[in-house]
């Protein structure tokens, strides 16, 4: 299946992926209007230090420890995508305890949040990939 891959060599550290990710869940047409003066809480986050930067989001593991560890059944695999039923999630954070990449975060409303490859937006290519100006984030199938 297609996944999001990141190449730190091309990452500019511009954080646009974070803005596009936050925009993806707003249902708005215009990004500037949707996010102006808002604190964003994206599912992809840029790590940066001493000139190195790269974006991290859910790897959609083939053997996902978050799904196996989830105490409610809110996290599950749909096709190859790991999705979260945020209504079922009670915010115990067992998945945060389990995820080796730090790709699941707490959110304002109590449930956890994570990348679902934009499958709920119907955009095809995930927003972070569309918004990356330097092709440091790509969406493709690799060796499966």
């Amino acid at each position: 299946m297609k996944r999001v891959y990141v190449n730190e060599k091309w990452c500019l550290g511009c954080h646009l992926c974070e803005y596009y990710c936050a925009f993806a869940s707003t249902n708005e047409k215009d990004m500037a209007r949707a996010l102006k003066d808002k604190r964003i809480s994206p599912n992809i986050r840029v790590e940066e230090l001493d000139g190195i930067s790269f974006a991290v989001s859910c790897r959609h593991c083939r053997e996902p420890l978050c799904v196996k560890g989830c105490i409610t059944g809110a996290l599950r695999k749909m096709g190859g995508t790991i999705v979260i039923d945020r209504d079922k999630c009670i915010g115990c954070y067992t998945c945060i305890l389990c995820c080796p990449y730090g790709a699941i975060s707490p959110s304002e409303d109590g449930a956890v949040q994570k990348c679902e490859l934009c499958i709920r937006t119907g955009s095809g290519t995930p927003y972070c990939v569309q918004g990356c100006p330097n092709e440091a984030i790509v969406y493709e199938e690799r060796g499966e």
């Binding site: 891959y5 990141v6 730190e8 790590e47 790897r59 196996k68 115990c92 389990c98 080796p100």
Partner: protein, 415 residues
Amino acid sequence: MKYVIIGNSAAAVGAVEAIRKNDREGRIVIASSENYHVYSRPLISYLLMGKTNEEKMKYRNDDFYKDNGCELKLNKTAQRIDIGQKRVIFEDGDNENYDTLLIATGSSPVIPPIPGLDKVKNKYTFTTLDDAKALDGALKENSRVLIMGAGLIGLKCAEGISKRKVRITCVDLSYKVLSSILDDESSEIIKKHLEENQIKFYLKRQVIEFEENLALLDDNTKIPFDVLVLAVGVRPNISLFKDAGGRTNRGILIDERCRTSIPNIYAAGDCCESMDASSGEVKVMALLPNAYMQGECAGMNMSGVDFVFDRAIPMNAIGLFGKHIITAGTYSGDAYLETDGKSYKKLFYSKNRLNGFILVGHIEKAGIYTALVREKTPLHTLDFELICKAPGLMALQKKEREEILGGVCREAAGS
């Protein structure tokens, strides 16, 4: 092939999902002493809080048994195993033959042998949905609730009922709360936080006698109560297996393939003892993620695929009144400490390995530490100073990071 599973919780689900990866045809029979579709036991405190409901508590959807071709037998308690005939005999006289059997019987609350406990009418345990419903029915406005045990179960129960206009008192033998997962300093932070949320503690105290509505402590304190909750611990349900001649200690002894000492019988979940990968000790690690993964391991091997699960470690994620705690591994070795009196981070390391950690408050990306413990990652292969301060992929070697993020393959993929 016919699979029989005794128990209907996380380990059973792990087993079913694994078996069905390898065998779509074999019969799977699941027997449960309870009368419910598989539900998540740790959610009973959230049920009392109103943060979930019985529908949302279902650990798998309504079609789970149908989709996986399982015959579910509810209210069906196993009485004994005839290992010669490879047959399970149930209390109601029914029996079920097996080719492979999984024992996933979980654990039961310990009832402390305290004089007068039999006189207490309003007493409850807190591990099952029926327990939660019974306790729910007993609570009235201004009820004085005495909880015996300031561990994970007792404190989650306290949180669960805290919005019910009840007065909660908690007694524990230990001098600290959550003594099984916290060190002294972090425990003190949590205790203060709980006291700020109107929970009263009597620590390092023992109930020596009960009257119907009164507990007498070893220092002569008398605590009147309306409702008593017993949460002093749980004990693995091993008698079914032990009576069949299987090897047990506190729990059923299993190897890294979840095999027991009896051929064709596997065991998984809270009823077992297994190797703690962070310390090398064999112990009961009654935690839902481990139960699922042991069940999965058992299911793979039961359906003929060699599978090893040797990464079990103690680990807990628990929230109490908005404060989150994540812990894992063993608390030995040198320590890295960060605290401001409200949040707390302590990492324990020795011999080039991270042995364990305690996080209170800031729990973001905790799994990066868990992975170091679980995988026994040699610490010289990463920037340990950086990862102590800020868990992230930044502290890993570039090559490893590139593998994780898939970045270098871009050229190879021919773009």
